[in-house]
Symmetry: C2
Subunit: 364 residues, 2 copies
Amino acid sequence: MSNPSLLILPGDGIGPEVMAEVVKIIDWYGAKRGMAFDVSEDLVGGAAYDKHGTPLHDDTMAKAQEVDAVLLGAVGGPKYDNLDFSVKPERGLLRLRKEMDLFANLRPAQCFDALADFSSLKRDVVAGLDIMIVRELTSGIYFGEPRGIFTEGNERVGINTQRYTESEIDRVARAAFELARKRGNRVCSMEKANVMESGVLWREVVQKVHDADYPDVELSHMYADAGAMQLCRWPKQFDVIVTDNLFGDLLSDAAAMLTGSLGMLPSASLGLPMANGRPKALYEPVHGSAPDIAGQGKANPIACILSFAMALRYSFDQGAEATRLEKAVEQVLADGLRTADLLGEDGVTPVSTTEMGDAIVAAL
Amino acid sequence: MSNPSLLILPGDGIGPEVMAEVVKIIDWYGAKRGMAFDVSEDLVGGAAYDKHGTPLHDDTMAKAQEVDAVLLGAVGGPKYDNLDFSVKPERGLLRLRKEMDLFANLRPAQCFDALADFSSLKRDVVAGLDIMIVRELTSGIYFGEPRGIFTEGNERVGINTQRYTESEIDRVARAAFELARKRGNRVCSMEKANVMESGVLWREVVQKVHDADYPDVELSHMYADAGAMQLCRWPKQFDVIVTDNLFGDLLSDAAAMLTGSLGMLPSASLGLPMANGRPKALYEPVHGSAPDIAGQGKANPIACILSFAMALRYSFDQGAEATRLEKAVEQVLADGLRTADLLGEDGVTPVSTTEMGDAIVAAL
Ligand SMILES: CC(C)[C@H](C(=O)O)[C@@H](O)C(=O)O
Ligand SMILES: CC(C)[C@H](C(=O)O)[C@@H](O)C(=O)O
């Protein structure tokens, strides 16, 4: 049997630096645990635009469809701010999500004990926090048609369309319920059913899936504005949150920031099973490309490394190895090692991006 | 000259209780400051539905168009959760906003010093916080067509449309810049221009208005997800935030919660000037109808009272009287009076809704 395949897309800004540390981890698994991967690498985002004039080349797209998992760094940067909408770095990422049909975006918002004081929230509000946001990722206002800037009478109008079909809601709801069963067994679904008909359908379908196939899971519904409030007030009330593409974008970023561990948080974007039974999958850190600190050895590689841990768990059924990697990360934090984003406390040891990667390999 | 006119719409849940305290304040201004108002009262939301089968009767709508200012309590409640979308309590409020063309929703997020410890955020992150969110209120995905639940093939699809014209963006941007000039002179505009064309147009128009007519105001742009993060991380970086209807809904609720003063925060929704020079205007607390505590004397009337202070300032050009009322509120807080939502500290005096209203009248 051939090795499982990985496509690495470092992207822009700090993407390449943090991904270089993931490669060390991958190499370690090959050398020490007999888990060799076939790794290829390619361009995405601004880096792809610079070379090909498009943020994702068709060949790269084709490769992404063939591999067992894609690992992505980050895309975007001020250099590309004035590009036409159709070739912005973000379009490369959005094309991957859409064409791979990665409908379930799993974003854990976890507060690492060693870092609880980094949060802008009080320690007792966030310590031990562990919630999972399941964001629909291939539909909604990100992709709905019609869209664009049109002329009407003597002025322009900007239009985007929120669209959700029953089956799109159904499948992401199932993903959330399945996850909840392996965790705290509670799902909170968020929309604006009081204002948007797409939210009315969302609520109805989530409830139907629940009643038919997951009656054992505790389900609640919340308006997304109230959800934003409650995340800020007492985030520990949540276990799994399921929500649409746009609400998920805002709510998961807010939740990530609450933990104080933004440079620490991974994500998995999962699609349908392929012929080999593995889901289509892309793994990426929640943080962005942070162009202001790129190339300075300041970036925290942990979010990207933990994204690889998610790959071990969700793509390769190596839950125990994922846990091993997560424990190694906890170990180096407990040892006081901190990249530049996490400095400020007494008695910690500042380390660079590569030193952090090396330390995690050593802890493995 | 006739007295200025007010239409009071207490609405549902705690709406009537908190509005009863505002009426005491209005009466005080009539008796003690020679500022008599012609006050009429009517139904909105579930209360209107119960009586008329519609959340806003046409006669009420007509009255709202005629008065100098509308004061609204809150709408909605579980009793109405299963009503058809078209007659939900919220539709009454949305109709008022739309037909009165109240495009600029001003939501101050202020942290009251006496209450800083109530925030889930650390004291130094929120103490002294004073930001103003200007939310576009009459367009965007709340009102765009097409909308509804349709059948396509063998399933249903929920559709809503985000739509912004240049002139809609232009006028709310101006409102934000004008406000900024009277405050910290900084505006941050939030959208998702990296994903949505309506956001691209939003950013472009805000920049154009700035460059043409408000070059003295400092303008920045931020993606709304990053905005949600930054609000949680270090909200004091902002002065005025201007954003669209849906982002404004989530971001202003999150910002309100950060302050720890949710039961304290007012809002003003302003439209175009009427023949008498006053803007069309509706004032309401940021909090909702809180049906769980309705009728128990637990509700905090301060948000609704401070909404009347905003009416004094923005509709009746009585800035000094608005400040007097705000100072009276600060006074009773400094004296340790607290409604049920603000209990928990030592040495404070628990009071009911009516006792709080009476104390504020006494402090005036
Ligand atoms: C980069 C951008 C297109 C993306 C999004 O809006 O989905 C990002 O914010 C995210 O959350 O992954
Ligand atoms: C009650 C509801 C329709 C309303 C909204 O979504 O605008 C509320 O959440 C608000 O923010 O005023």
